[in-house]
Amino acid sequence: MKEKRDLKIQAIEKGTVIDHIKAGQALNVLRILGISSAFRATISFVMNALGARGKKDVVKIEGKELSVEELNRIALISPKATINIIRDFEVVQKNNVVLPSYVEGVVRCINSNCISNSSEPIKSKFFVLQSEEEGVTLRCLYCEHVISENIAENLL
């Protein structure tokens, strides 16, 4: 059984492993990190892998250590994800993602009349709030519209 799992996600020599991503969100994690077809490093990912705490996604980025600021954006869509920095096949650093208090150029404002959805030379800007009742919500710095659900669907 272990052997089979190892085949799914090979160990990497150097880079970043994002583990415990909410099942089904791996592609959105790539989007939130701005990883597109132009990205040169090798990426591998698994979706709906069975872990000790149920299903999860895992993303591995070889040869590249992403910044804490970039990685913390993942908390917007998967607050329980963990970040493992790998060097020489060893985990040298392991952290939980931390919800940022502010994000820029990551999410599109859902208000179609917002100035950030026009052709002005600006990036979208949101304050990030978290509450017991509503979970993670984003408030547009420009128009004050609040995004309280489907954040992943509004990624830029």
């Binding site: 002005e120 420009y142 004050e144």
Partner: protein
């Protein structure tokens, strides 16, 4: 408006009161002498534009007007950010009115001079809120006010901003509207969290004897797919001489204007009518905003 504390609002209203004799033409002021105020209005708003213009001129300032959009660089495809950067070189302050939500905040990022939001999109019109608060303070009182807001409470940005601002002073608020145009529930929840007592109804008769200020707004025809429904609502939410027979003698009626028929003309001559005075109060309020934003009053 949510960015302002009660102390800051009070300070702006105090300044407006100090400048009121100048606004009435009873005293002269050169506070804005040598200052140029640019009015960039990207959508029509005669009242707001003229009262800012009057405010600037009463304080001895010069006014630059964008003129018609059709004849400007905007028609050549220039974005707002560039327009703001250019006009910042010509003026000491910019008053901006723009149809997109959040445009004033964006303008402030690109400007090298202060920006006053003269209304952006469908959400904010802070100078209107300041003049509403000033009117209430001058004609009634702000602390613990019993106020009813009536008409289109769903889309009416003036009532949204006003009730947030009034909540800083404690208030009993009654929202009078047809079910289709009720106050958005997230606003009601926010106000209740701030300890505001709220009552909702669709009848003016029911509440008229029990409020100190009635803030009327226009119900727009285009909000109703069915013209018959619009007619019914329009007539139900109407202030008439008959309705006012049961009013508190100290009642003041406000309206951001323009009105259509929600206040009948017979009300204009009664001591309750306050909406034309309210329009005047736009001048001292905007004088205060101009003087404070340019720094000629600190």
């Amino acid at each position: 408006m949510k960015d302002f504390s009660r102390e800051e609002i009070d300070y702006i209203l105090d300044t407006a009161e100090r400048l009121e004799p100048v606004a009435r033409g009873e005293e002269r002021s050169r506070l804005l002498d040598g200052k140029i105020i640019a009015l960039l209005f990207f959508e029509p708003s005669t009242r707001t534009r003229l009262s800012f213009e009057a405010a600037a001129q009463r304080l001895g300032g010069e006014v630059l007007n964008l003129g018609s959009i059709e004849a400007s660089s905007v028609m050549k495809g220039e974005n707002l950010a560039d327009t703001i950067r250019v006009i910042s070189n010509y003026a000491d302050l910019i008053v901006l009115r723009h149809p997109l939500d959040g445009s004033a905040r964006m303008a402030a990022e690109f400007a090298t001079v202060p920006i006053i939001n003269g209304g952006d999109g469908s959400l904010h019109h802070p100078s209107q809120t300041f003049l509403d608060l000033y009117t209430i303070r001058r004609e009634s009182h702000l602390e613990g006010l019993k106020i009813a807001m009536a008409g289109d409470l769903k889309y009416g940005r003036t009532v949204h901003s006003l009730c947030y601002a009034l909540s800083l002073y404690g208030a009993e608020m009654t929202f009078v509207s047809p079910p289709e145009l009720r106050m958005p529930q997230e606003i009601v929840r926010d106000l209740q969290k701030n300890g505001i007592h709220i009552r909702e109804t669709d009848s003016l008769e029911e509440i008229i004897g029990d409020v100190e200020v009635l803030y009327m707004t226009r119900v727009q025809r285009e909000r109703f797919p069915d013209p018959e429904e619009y007619e019914k609502v329009k007539n139900r939410l109407k202030v008439t001489g008959d309705l006012l027979k049961n009013a508190d003698p100290k009642l003041k009626i406000l309206h951001p204007l323009p009105r259509v028929n929600e206040i009948s003309p017979e009300v204009d001559a009664t001591p309750y009518a306050c909406y034309f005075e309210q329009a005047f109060y736009g001048v001292p309020t905007r004088m205060a905003l101009l003087a404070l934003a340019t720094g000629v009053i600190e």
